[in-house]
Amino acid sequence: MSALTILLIVIVAFLAGMEGILDEFQFHQPLVACTLIGLVSGHPQEGIILGGSLQMIALGWANIGAAVAPDAALASVASAILMVIALDGGATDTVAAINTSIAVAVPLSVAGLFLTMICRTIAIPMVHAMDAAASKADFRGIEVWQVLAICLQGVRIAIPAAALCFIPAESVTAVLNSMPAWLSGGMAVGGGMVAAVGYAMVINMMATKETWPFFVLGFVLAALSELTLIALGAIGVSLALIYLGLKELATAGGGAAGSGDPLGDILNDYE
């Protein structure tokens, strides 16, 4: 890799690290991070595909309150770098390189999680410095410490990324090429199933007795391959609006007589 490529990759990694905590612009999402690394290293096509595959896995990863989810930033940046090195080294087919990168990304997301926890601890003395600045009405001090704290999160990903760039291409390709077919094939099979974990995290967050039927509807309708995701989204929005509208009607008209449900009326009389 050229010095310029490495520099650009480190910048992308820095942005991804920042976003891993800020969660605003979404540079840490695999779809964005892997695409950018692919673009700056001359493998845009593969970067986009890797990003898409990882994104499907990471859909449900989110930081809630003080809890941190598997770290998408390190996972997408590091796996994309490894894929680029393997492709630059030649002698490996693209599909294998992408599949192995996905498998590598998962343990990396755990490593990233520990790095995040370390940064969040280091931030404690930093906010104490902000306290001190506040008591002196030192606006500049507060700004400097806030920016430093953000940079700390950027460096969290930028350093491992820079280190990875210096792994010789031969060793990465050698490892890839010596990988038996059952291992890479098996990882591809595993990768196909892993998305279920992210979806399960989302479901556990939102599932109630009322929302389960909508899950079933979505599942059954998706079997019609003519429906694009946008079409499914439109159906989903309509269903939500209809449901909320009907529910409001039901509560508004709840007390009225002649509800059209004789049995319901009788039961209500007993209350």
Binding site: L22, D23, L31, I48, I49, G51, Q55, M56, L59, G60, I64, G65, A66, A103, V106, I124, M126, V127, M130, A133, A134, A137, F139, I142, E143, W145, Q146, I150, W182, L183, G186, A188, V189, G190, M193, A195, A196, V197, Y199, A200, M201, V202, N204, M205, M206, E210, T211, F214, F215, L217, G218, F219, V220, A222, A223, L232, G233, I235, A240, L244
Partner: protein
């Protein structure tokens, strides 16, 4: 007492909105988003208070504990701006009142932000972009990035303005059931989309062959008796159109997967997802489940059943 009223201009409020994007930058285990919050309030405090003592007091009261969803924090900061403005103009609003409003709003709002942004909008946009990206289409990542940031910035700005204009009245609006409805609607949409994503993107394929049947004559293309040349290709294609994929070979092979798909396509995928839900509820770490799935994949490939 003809002192002029100090107000925050639109530019001041925009400066706060811009800085508010970096709310989580100094997230720490002690007081969480307090540093970022104080950082966001700086332009307003500079404008509203002129003496050093007042400025220091204002900065200190905004270094208190704070934590919510980074986007729905926007209306909270809007209300806080309105309160600080009133206070700077001499109204009696003490520190406890300001902190009370922040704490009172952050809890319920975080309860809306998480399902709406992290579990509905992001999975939907992410899946939309990723499904395009899987075929190498650069529009996938661009679409995700642009749509997300337009929605996010519009939300941050307009809800902050809403909070600023409505002030503490906002708590009435919030308890009016609107928040509950938004959350409920988002959950419905989210569950619907997740249902379809499970069908489309969780892939499990069981390869064992369940049955091999020799088909009767006429149910398959008799390759040896086709006319030669273009005529033969035409005839083969015509037969294929009426017979379907099974007509290509004399023997009809049915895999376990085809049997399962005949019940409901994606049955195994949904079973796996529900299993994951159960495991997560039992506090099994998602990482452990992910690693286990890779192990299952490798074993499945080794034993030739997946």
């Amino acid at each position: 007492m003809a002192e002029e009223k100090i107000t925050l201009s639109k530019k001041d409020r925009q400066a706060v909105a811009w800085r508010h994007q970096f709310l989580q930058g100094s997230w720490n285990y002690e007081r969480m988003q307090n540093g970022g919050w104080c950082y966001a309030m700086v332009p307003a405090i500079k404008k509203l208070y002129s003496t050093k003592e007042e400025q220091a007091a204002a900065l200190e009261r905004h270094m208190e504990f704070y934590n919510t969803h980074p986007y729905v924090s926007a209306p909270v900061i809007g209300v806080t701006l309105a309160l600080e403005e009133d206070r700077a103009n001499g109204e009696k609003i003490d520190d406890a009142a300001i902190q009370g409003v922040k704490v009172g709003m952050m809890g319920p709002l975080a309860g809306v932000g998480d399902p709406v942004f992290w579990f509905t909008i992001r999975p939907i946009l992410g899946a939309l972009g990723a499904s395009m990206a899987l075929s190498g289409n650069i529009l996938g990542p661009i679409l995700f990035f642009v749509l997300w940031n337009v929605i996010r910035m519009a939300f941050l700005w307009y809800t902050q303005e809403f909070g600023y204009k409505v002030g503490t009245e906002i708590t009435k609006d919030l308890s009016g059931g609107l928040l509950g409805k938004i959350t409920e609607g988002a959950s419905i949409l989210g569950m619907f989309i997740i249902g379809s994503l499970v069908e489309r993107w969780v892939s499990i394929s069981f390869t064992p062959v369940v049955s091999t049947v020799t088909q009767s004559k006429g149910a398959y293309i008799d390759w040896s008796s086709l006319p030669s040349g273009a005529e033969g290709i035409k005839s083969a294609l015509e037969q294929y159109a009426s017979l379907g994929a099974n007509g290509l070979n004399v023997e009809k092979v049915t895999t376990l997967q085809q049997n399962l798909d005949a019940l409901i396509p994606g049955l195994a995928a949904v079973a796996l997802t529900l299993l994951c839900c159960k495991l997560l509820k039992k506090k099994v770490s998602p990482i452990a489940i992910i690693l286990a799935l890779f192990a299952v994949g490798i074993i499945g490939r080794l034993l030739n059943f997946m």
